[in-house]
Symmetry: C2
Amino acid sequence: MKIADIGGEFAFIRRVAREYRDPAIVRGAGDDCAAIDHPPSRLLLLTTDMMVENTHFTRDWFTPRQIGRKLMEVNVSDIVSMGGVPRHAVISLAMPPDTTIEFMDELYRGLYESAEAHGVALVGGDTTRGRELTLNLALTGEVEPELVRYRSGALPGDCICVTGTLGKNEAGLRLLMAGKPGYTQGFLEPRARRADEGRVIARYAHAMIDVSDGLASEVRHICEQSGAGAIIECDAIPISAETRDAAAAVGSDPSAYALYGGEDFELVFTAERGAIDTLRSVFQDFTIVGEILSPDGGIRLRKGERLVELDQGFDHFAKT
Amino acid sequence: MKIADIGGEFAFIRRVAREYRDPAIVRGAGDDCAAIDHPPSRLLLLTTDMMVENTHFTRDWFTPRQIGRKLMEVNVSDIVSMGGVPRHAVISLAMPPDTTIEFMDELYRGLYESAEAHGVALVGGDTTRGRELTLNLALTGEVEPELVRYRSGALPGDCICVTGTLGKNEAGLRLLMAGKPGYTQGFLEPRARRADEGRVIARYAHAMIDVSDGLASEVRHICEQSGAGAIIECDAIPISAETRDAAAAVGSDPSAYALYGGEDFELVFTAERGAIDTLRSVFQDFTIVGEILSPDGGIRLRKGERLVELDQGFDHFAKT
């Protein structure tokens, strides 16, 4: 059934909109804007991410539910990486005219599942037509001024740490491209870290960022904005057995997936060694992968005996 | 010159990003999120609007500067129609690979011109690839809890008023479609009302909305959400001489442009007759076009001797 068959744009919005009992929502979907009661002692965080069919997903690989989930996770990850709590979102959709209501119902099912898991309320949006399915989410968050963490806070001597494992997104993509079986969830169902995890880390971290373009790119961002150098120990990068198997299956190096791959949505943070020991007593799922240096130390990767420049990560418009 | 030629996505972002001296911006573009110091006694407003090439604009008709302007005006209008002051925006862009940097520079020129005129700061965004140029803006605003105006506040006996003139957007579109000369600025360069105008009106209004889908659709929204009826006097609808000329040139009825046309971004508001007289002493650019009735009065249009149902406005997915 097409969107037009249920009565068009306004009928579609009524169908997918939800009521929330969040007392902060003074006015949700259905007016010109959402109106939110923002808590006085918290910074407002604001982020946005767009997903375009055939650039970020294809319908051959992704179920609509996975597309909806990913849209939410991508944005939540940005809030979590600042030490924040994700709160309220507005969605924009450009849909091809042949989009079915069944497809959109499933997409919204995924979106709401992920929103609920992270405590996010959808408070409005915009629905229109386009040749390609294009989704945009803008998401707010809240954070105490003393807990907000930027890319710019890293200090020489800090350990560089990453949560979970890296490379799983790229591994899944490569398996799908090669048409080989294996673990593809890291690509099809990426998960942002939970806000409570990000906030425990934020208490001990100097700088924090999420992994959207690979570890190399994120470490470079931290170094550039902190005015620092860094060394990454390639052998220390946490890579799961599934990711290693996938890399073996398609004949590539799993550490390249971790360094230059895509949206793993793990957190990269820097902290003093002493703080890290304290953090470890309350949160264990992270690994030390390197160290922040003074700026003249450069930004390098140690791989076995070799010390090389840490290349830049993925760039949508880079020349190849 | 292509985006790739200047060094890709990150180089493009550095090129277009601006620094602001707004003390509320604790962190602007360049981190995972923007971090904003939101004033404690104001509601946070949040809106988003997407513009897709060939749905909302074509490069044949619009200059890139006009596209950038429109993206900002569309969103500002939503904040203004709630009685708010627009504040901080994040932009998402999907660009075809052949997009030139000259085109994007012009688009950003328009975007920044309009942002500056309305006091908006651009604090971040997301840049990616797509087959069609697709733009999304998410915009925050601030409003005193006692000044926020919804669609739902209209009371029977209220006058229904509109600012400026209506139909100019549709008139411009029709002239361009017919390839005829005339006034097309209402379509190519729509302008949101200024926040100070919206806020003066808000002091006296019970309900307010902006004109995005034509007067008929906006009055219907107010009636549905206020649990009220309405009568619109067709002859009272303010239509400019330019719009009348355009309608005459393409052989159509200019009041249809006003009622069922598109994005005029004027304000529709309802207020008691006494309040309207007081408002008129400080703001004059509005016209009374009808009256709010009890719900059993229906939602009607008086056109000469005839009383007809007020049809719904434009709907992107309506069957025709």
